[in-house]
Amino acid sequence: MAGAIYRKPITLAVMATVTILVGSVVTMAYPMLRADMHPKLATLKPYTALQLAGRDVYQREGCMNCHTQVVRPLPSEVARYGAYSQAGEFAYEHPFLWGSKRTGPDLAREGGLRPDAWQYDHLANPQKYVPRSNMPSYAFLKGRLLDADQVTSHLAALAVLHPELKPDPAQVKAELAGKDEADAMVAYLQQLGHAVPRRQALAADLTVENPLAHDVAAVVKGQKLFADNCAVCHGDEAKGQEGIAPSLIDDVFLEVKGDMPDAAYFAMISGGSDAKAGLGRPGLKDGGMTAFGGQLSKQDIWSIIAWLRNQKAHEAAEGDDHDAQEHR
């Protein structure tokens, strides 16, 4: 080996720098010039002032130390979270918030997955919904009013790179009036993944019957599945929770009086609120029913329905007696 450069520190430093720059240019700088690094989906919308304020809080609180925001194209991951992340979804991400550690679930498809009320409540007290969750409580976000001037200046900074974000201070002020950090966070969470269509609901064939109706083993299994997956929103006895999710054992289905057949239940559970389109009923304006199609097998879903039907019959039989007890 030519030994001379090991006597010349400046030459050595220059050569080391050049050596370091080769890989940097090829894998870091050069890609910036390529179109495949700057894609943007036509459906991608820029952040509103409220959503951006929520994103800022997400950064400030370091939520990305526990949550990723990128769904990998693996079958199990798509089944768990929804469509895998597309390159064109991230044009407004400064920086990207993909994260590297999933102590909690991925949030790339969180938007619309849960009702607003659930998100507020869960943020303030995660253990209320998932008793063994280790997510910290973020109750302090409530009541911390947003500073419109600050958010305006943040939008203005981003507008250097994205002119369409240029804020109108008066409008920002109006949008943020009376809003606090919890409002901002929920607004941010609810738009995550908005550029990609959510899980497609299966076309509902309402003539299909429940193969497990009245099957005792299925009813028992359904009860457990319900407790694990549904009770957090619909309540332990499926009677619903105010502002979060409706009762599943009353005579109202998707806000319209009159129950629907088991197949309609199946469609809602499998496809979530997106399935409403195929059922012809309005339901809640903001939706919020999670699609369980990827997580629960068909058997599981029919078992839950069998238990729900059993529960409803049971409830009807007990009737007034039960009510009286509750009001004591």
């Binding site: 520190p9 370091i20 720059l21 890609p31 199990s76 920086p95 280790n134």
Partner: protein, 475 residues
């Protein structure tokens, strides 16, 4: 007026500061490890997990890591140049300024100033301060090397030079941002580029903060402490150039299966596999050096520190490339396997090398010997057990998590909910806290040993005329 004594006090100042920030960082590590199984241990708003994890990583990378780098590399540069620092007062200023910057950095992270880029969380005012800090360091390193009395540049100096230039390039590029107020900025790059630039930086922050400077220390202090010359100069040359060439291509192995283009991922993975070669070049060089006289393992208490350190480096650099493979990444990415990997590197390789080097330097500053080899041995065994317990438990629970996330029924539906996989971690997370306690106890023995050695040295100095530290040039 200048002599080694003044500069040695600066070196000692850096070492003590690094130890201080290291202890802070480790205590925060203990707290976040508890928060993961006891959410009630979060104290909003300043002390929640999301903010503290960043204090832990930055505190240890920049407080402990950079502090040790400044202190020990200035020492190495002086010895290998055969002269004191060219700008001793600048170095003293750097010491105070360093502590100020780290303190401000910690406060800013508690306050939630967070750029959300891993290992580049500090907001732009602190970034500016860090760049100034680094430039001050570079000035002394280059000036002293240029004015050296030794013609040859020893391998530790190449690694030092590469560290100085690489960190400068990496840090500045990845921290380019549009400021939006004092504590807020937005990364200059969007989406895919933001990710790609960040992991180009992130992987090389590990490379040039936790690898090259510690190789510089290893190749200087290990032969010195054991009194054995380095096995092969030629192997060092090969390993050095191929390492600093290869490292910069591999950032995309942190982005496997993300939407960045496939060619970038594949390129990153290929170079990652190549990195085994230069890494193991250093490992072999280390082993063969000690191998010329294994009896040192018995006779010299520092031998085992260095041998275990390079062993963990060797394991780390096999595990790392494996993790980059698509089939492995699928399973372990995002799980607790990765903290298992991380802490074998940080607790094993980095802190073992740093503490052994400090054990070598501190007594030499006073011309004395270590306060207690016995305490050093207790320190060694405790950190070793703590680290192994930490990594092994995380690997097990990481694989279990990954497997549960992937498990599907024949009809394509998932076998386990997310929460079922979360709950399985708890016993392992309890054990990790125990491992952390053992490791911390070990580190406290180390701190005690260092402080007592300094005390012993000061007493010596007071009773005798000021001893001039010798300036041994490399054999």
């Amino acid at each position: 007026m200048n002599d080694y004594r003044y500069d040695n006090q600066t070196v000692q100042g850096f070492i003590l500061s690094a130890i201080f920030w290291g202890v802070v960082g480790i205590l925060v590590g203990l707290l976040i490890s508890i928060q993961l199984w006891a959410p009630a241990a979060n104290f909003a708003p300043y002390f929640t997990y999301g903010r503290l994890r960043v204090v832990h990583t930055n505190g240890l990378a920049f407080g402990l890591g950079a502090g040790v780098i400044f202190g020990l590399l200035l020492y190495v540069v002086m010895r290998l140049s055969g002269r004191p620092l060219v700008f001793p007062r600048l170095a003293r200023f750097q010491l105070w300024y360093f502590n100020l910057v780290i303190a401000a950095a910690a406060l800013s992270l508690f306050a939630g100033w967070d750029q959300s880029n891993e290992y580049a969380e500090l907001e732009w005012p602190l970034d500016v301060a860090v760049v100034v800090l680094w430039v001050i360091f570079a000035v002394n390193v280059f000036a002293t090397i240029i004015k050296r009395k030794e013609p040859q540049l020893y391998v530790s100096l190449w690694y030092t030079i590469a560290t100085v230039v690489a960190i400068a390039v990496l840090y500045i590029v990845n921290n380019l941002a549009i400021p939006a107020g004092l504590g807020k900025s937005y990364h200059l790059f969007a989406g895919l580029n933001s990710a790609n630039v960040e992991w180009w930086y992130g992987h090389n922050a590990v490379g040039f903060l936790f690898t090259t400077p510690f190789l510089a220390m290893f190749f200087y202090f290990m032969p010195k402490a054991l009194g054995i010359p380095l096995y092969s100069h030629r192997l060092s040359i090969l390993a050095f150039w191929s390492l600093i060439f290869g490292y910069l291509w591999t950032g995309a192995h942190h982005l496997v299966y993300t939407p960045i283009p496939d060619w970038l991922q594949t390129l990153g993975i290929v170079f990652t596999l190549f990195l085994i070669a230069p890494s193991w070049g250093s490992v072999i060089n280390g082993y063969y050096t000690v191998g010329s006289d294994w009896s040192k393992m018995r006779t010299n208490y520092l031998a085992k520190f260095f041998v275990l350190a390079i062993t963990f480096y060797g394991l780390q650099t096999v595990q790392g490339p494996t993790q980059a493979l698509r089939v492995v990444s699928q399973l372990i990415h995002g799980t607790d396997w990765v903290p298992g990997h991380v802490h074998m590197g940080t607790m094993g390789w980095v802190t073992l090398t740093a503490t052994a080097s400090i054990y070598y330097v501190i007594p030499r500053i006073y011309g004395t010997t270590i306060y207690s080899e016995k305490v050093a041995n207790i320190h060694f065994w405790l950190v070793l057990v703590g680290q192994l317990l930490f990594s092994v438990t995380m690997w097990i629970t990481g694989i279990q998590q990954g497997a549960m996330w992937k498990a599907t029924n024949p009809d394509g539906t998932l076998k386990y909910t997310f929460v079922e996989s979360l709950v399985k971690n708890y016993p392992y997370w309890h054990t990790r806290t125990l491992a952390g306690l053992i490791f911390t106890a070990g580190m406290l023995f180390f701190v005690y040993n260092v402080l007592m050695t300094i005390r012993k040295g000061r007493a010596l100095q007071a009773s005798a005329p000021a001893p001039r530290a010798s300036s041994p040039a490399p054999a």
